[in-house]
């Protein structure tokens, strides 16, 4: 599984840091890379060792205290030289290899310097360069560079001894900045020798000693950050809702078509389907079922005239008041982002597919009934026993064979409401990992995404059973509300429509949900009441629970992968009973699927 939202090189750097620190439960504020993007093994170890021997949060607070100054990178580079010496002396007795690693890092420094062009050299901070050169020359036993008296003093000051504790290290760092730069942390910098932002030197220094800024909580970001949800970071509210007016029906239809592409069924078929599903609580709703490949491109989503009209009129509620043109553009952009994310993490994703498919293969093999084969020993097949005496055929026994048959199909239903905005790329690649892994195990899989917009519940078939390729999943796009009950019923209808297994086969539907059904289209008034009801809170939960119940009665094993805040746990129990797994991060989606499938198959067998 893709464990975290780091690129391969970053994750490797993190692993080096965690390993040196001896713990894996913290996010480091620093990571070190060479200019070519490769993790700097030794300096990442140093960062980990700072956590091991010193109080890393206090140290990073200190670094943070001057992070807005123009000389941040220069100070960082120098102070890390001090820290390096300190933790090196502390760790060396228990890790003798450290001296060898340090020497190798020193040699690397000189190699990298040789490969830099004259211009690159000129853009470097000469002070940092001289100090680093002095440090690494000392380590390798080379001739010391020519240093000014001030630089010599700095070089000596940066040899923080291994006997210092955190407070003393911070005092040393403060004293260093004060003595050599007249800079007191917390004060505004006065001596400004601006390093041009974005200049080569700036970039090289940033790469060599990459300073990760602290992550801030992400709130509803339209384009998505790809950095995942924090608990409760995105909420859908019913504020300033405008009532859905049936007079706008034609516009709504055009809008939905322009945004999500044509419906895969003709009007008559859709009417039958809607008559079947859009009743009772969902009586005001419409359905739209589309394929990922049929998404309109940003340039051709219905013609300019239509867009103008739509953009002028498309104002329904707070979450879906954007023009179809914009939405289509966003969808295309998001698709590119999803693909880009996939390309960037190609190696991790391929590894994830390999691991998950091996895991699923074992799970399916465990629960599949092996077909019997003829054998010389085993369970006697009485019908063939005569062959022993008559034909001298010893193969009248049966033993379990290697062949198994999966009479099983899996449907993954992804919540594509706006609450998933921050995780679109990760959800797309996780769903890709799941679909690809199931395909590898020869289990038919269908992946759909659902959201509700302007009274339409749009089910987008990202990958159908018959599709060999899974790339359609990159069409995942989050927007609008989520009417879980109707989406589940529609997905069930699709399962039967495109059935990939025999009628007696097992059908499993897994839904990624936050157990918070919420839609702008109201439910009709109950008998004896004049008031229509909002599709939210208890009513929406009850509606979804009924949908799940009806699906289970149809023989579809329905289970949930829950990613959401603690506050919705009660809803989760009410809707799905015991059949769910909770994941803490969207990166664990594939793990959740594997766990859930195992749970379901165990129950089927028992």
């Amino acid at each position: 599984m893709i464990k975290r939202h780091y690129s391969g090189a970053q994750r490797r750097a993190l692993n080096i840091i965690w390993n040196a620190a001896g713990r894996y439960d913290f996010e480091t504020p620093f990571m070190a890379f060479y200019p070519n993007g490769k993790p700097d093994f030794y300096f990442n170890m140093v960062i980990g060792l700072v956590d091991k021997w010193l109080d890393l949060p206090k140290i990073s607070d200190f670094f943070y205290s001057y992070s807005r100054g123009s000389k941040t990178d220069e100070y960082d580079a120098l102070l890390w030289l001090g820290l390096e010496n300190c933790v090196y002396e502390k760790e060396l007795p228990t890790r003798p290899i450290l001296s060898q690693l340090r020497r190798r890092r020193a040699e690397d420094f000189f190699k990298v310097q040789q490969s830099l062009s004259r211009q690159q050299m000129m853009l470097q901070s000469m002070l940092v360069y001289n100090e680093q050169q002095a440090r690494w020359a000392l380590v390798t036993g080379r001739k010391m560079p020519l240093l000014s008296a001030r630089e010599k003093k700095m070089e000596e000051a940066l040899r923080f001894p291994g006997s210092l504790d955190t407070e003393q290290v911070i005092e040393s760092m403060q004293a260093f900045l004060l003595e050599f730069f007249h800079f007191r942390t917390g004060e505004k910098e006065t001596n400004v020798r601006q390093l041009r932002k974005g200049s080569l030197a700036d970039k090289v220094l940033r790469k060599v000693l990459h300073h990760e800024t602290r992550q801030l909580d992400v709130l509803l970001v339209r384009t998505g950050t790809g950095h995942g949800d924090r608990e409760g970071s995105v909420r859908l509210l019913h504020n300033q809702r405008e009532l859905h007016n049936s007079a706008d029906a034609a516009e709504d239809l055009a809008y939905i078509r322009a945004c999500f592409g044509p419906c895969i069924y003709n009007e008559a078929d859709m009417r039958v389907l809607e008559n079947d599903l859009c009743k009772e609580d969902d009586a005001y709703c419409r359905l739209w079922i589309t394929k990922a490949g049929d998404m309109p491109s940003a340039a051709s989503s219905g013609g300019a005239q239509q867009h103008r009209t739509l953009s002028q009129q498309a104002r329904v509620n707070s979450s879906d008041n954007r023009s179809a043109k914009d939405v289509a553009k966003d969808i295309a952009r998001q698709r590119e982002k999803n693909i880009e994310y996939y390309r960037r993490n190609g190696m991790l994703i391929a590894g994830s597919v390999r691991r998950l498919s091996a895991q699923l293969d074992t799970i399916f093999a465990s629960y599949a009934q092996p077909l019997p084969v003829k054998a010389r020993a085993g369970r006697l097949n009485s019908e063939k026993a005569y062959r022993l005496a008559v034909m001298d055929d010893p193969y009248v026994f049966e033993r379990p064979g290697d062949e198994v048959e999966h009479d099983l199909s899996v449907d993954i239903l992804l919540d594509a409401s706006a609450s998933r905005l921050n995780s679109q790329e990760v959800i797309a690649s996780q769903a890709y990992v799941i679909a690809k892994s199931l395909e590898k195990c020869h289990v038919p899989v269908q992946v759909s995404a659902f959201r509700s917009l302007r009274g339409y519940t749009v089910l987008q078939l990202l990958k159908q059973y018959k599709d060999v390729r899974c790339e359609g999943i990159f069409g995942y796009y989050a927007a609008g509300w989520n009417r879980d009950g109707l989406a589940l019923k529609t997905a069930a209808a699709q399962m039967y429509q495109n059935s990939a297994v025999t009628s007696s086969g097992k059908k499993i539907l897994l839904i990624l949900t936050d157990a918070s059904p919420n839609d702008s289209t109201r439910m009709p008034a109950k008998e004896g009441s004049f008031f229509e009801r909002e599709y939210e809170g208890e009513e929406a939960v009850r509606n979804t629970a009924e949908a799940v119940k009806s699906m289970r009665s149809l023989g579809i094993r329905t289970a949930a992968i829950y990613l959401g805040p603690n506050t919705n746990l009660e809803n989760l129990h009410l809707i799905y009973g015991k059949e769910y797994v909770r994941i803490q991060k969207i990166e664990q989606l594939a793990n959740g699927v594997s766990e859930l499938l195992q749970m379901i198959l165990r129950e089927i067998r028992n």
């Binding site: 490797r12 228990t94 290899i97 991790l348 074992t362 010389r376 369970r379």
Partner: protein, 308 residues
């Protein structure tokens, strides 16, 4: 051979009362001559005083034992060691997803004249009073294990339909091993679990791992030995945090690697062969390689690792 393991137990500080109990058991239940070859003579000894005490007490009390724990906790080493301690013939049954009752108890076959029963390992273990090691017991389906219920509980019988009912000899013990981390494993049902005394196997301690390495490689230098011990825990830590799979967490692999250095390979090559290359994912290999590089130089030779 037998006395070596008893001496080892004494050295480990196991209560003399337990050791006396083992000796009495041995005296009372002497294995038949033709089964002597089935009594294992282990190369590796299990280190862990507490676990030894619990395991010996359970087996002396007539319990069957279930060793549960993650990879590299020495479950199989302990199971084999226990057979050697009690000097009982060993039948090893490797469970897999298709293991069924016939695989355990026996199958029908044709001997040229008639259909006869060909006994399986559990049957043979029961009639000969051996120790049956049920390896990865939770890989099998619960219905396949149901045939063991009467064998494992107070009834001590095996009833083979169409053949005789046989009584399990009183010195018979079954030792199950299970790893609850592997994919495809399942939870044992209550009926089966209740027929075992369950021993939760911890990861080998720092001190015991050092002892194990020093016993296997007496001339190994102390400082290097310490680095290999730390390397094992760092890999364990990484696997526990799911940054790598537990393929690389392989104590046997570590011992093999040191063995290869002893035969003349450099530490880099030996560790690659016995640890790093056990995972087939290039990215995971790079993470494992980083852990190794932070502990053991890849150019160590026999002379660096072992004192002359």
């Amino acid at each position: 051979m037998d006395d070596a393991i008893l001496t080892f137990l004494s050295e480990e500080g196991i209560d003399s009362q337990l050791i006396e109990g083992v000796k009495a058991f041995r005296k009372k239940h002497n294995a038949d001559e033709e089964l002597q070859t089935r009594i294992p003579s282990p190369e590796l000894f299990y280190y862990g005083k507490d676990v030894w005490k619990k395991a010996l007490a359970a087996l002396l009390a007539g319990e069957n034992l279930l060793l549960a724990g993650p990879k590299a906790t020495g479950k199989n080493v302990l199971a084999e060691n226990l057979c050697a301690v009690f000097a009982r013939p060993l039948w090893n049954v490797s469970f897999h997803i298709n293991a069924d009752a016939a695989y355990l108890i026996g199958t029908d076959t044709f001997n040229g004249e008639k259909v006869v029963f060909r006994p399986g390992p559990v049957y043979l273990c029961a009639v000969n009073g051996g120790f049956g090691v049920l390896d990865e017991i939770n890989m099998a389906k619960n219905e396949a294990l149901a045939v063991l219920h009467s064998t494992l509980d107070f009834r001590h019988v095996i009833d083979v339909p169409g053949y005789d009912k046989i009584v399990v000899r009183p010195e018979t013990r079954f030792i199950g091993t299970m790893n609850y981390g592997y994919a495809g494993t399942r939870e044992l049902n209550e009926a089966l679990t209740s027929r075992f005394a369950v021993l939760d196997m911890p990861l080998i301690s720092d001190e015991d791992l050092t002892k194990l390495l020093k016993r296997r490689f007496p001339s190994m230098r102390d400082q290097i030995c310490g680095q290999f011990v730390r390397l094992f825990y760092e890999l364990a830590n990484k696997a526990q945090n799911s940054e790598i799979s537990d393929r690389a967490l392989d104590l046997r692999g570590l011992l093999d690697a040191i063995g290869l250095i002893d035969k003349g390979l450099t530490s880099g090559d030996a560790l690659d062969m016995c640890i790093t290359n056990k995972t087939f994912d290039a990215y995971e290999r790079s993470l494992i390689h980083d852990v190794i590089s932070a502990r053991v130089p890849d150019s160590l030779t026999k002379g660096d690792v072992f004192a002359q």
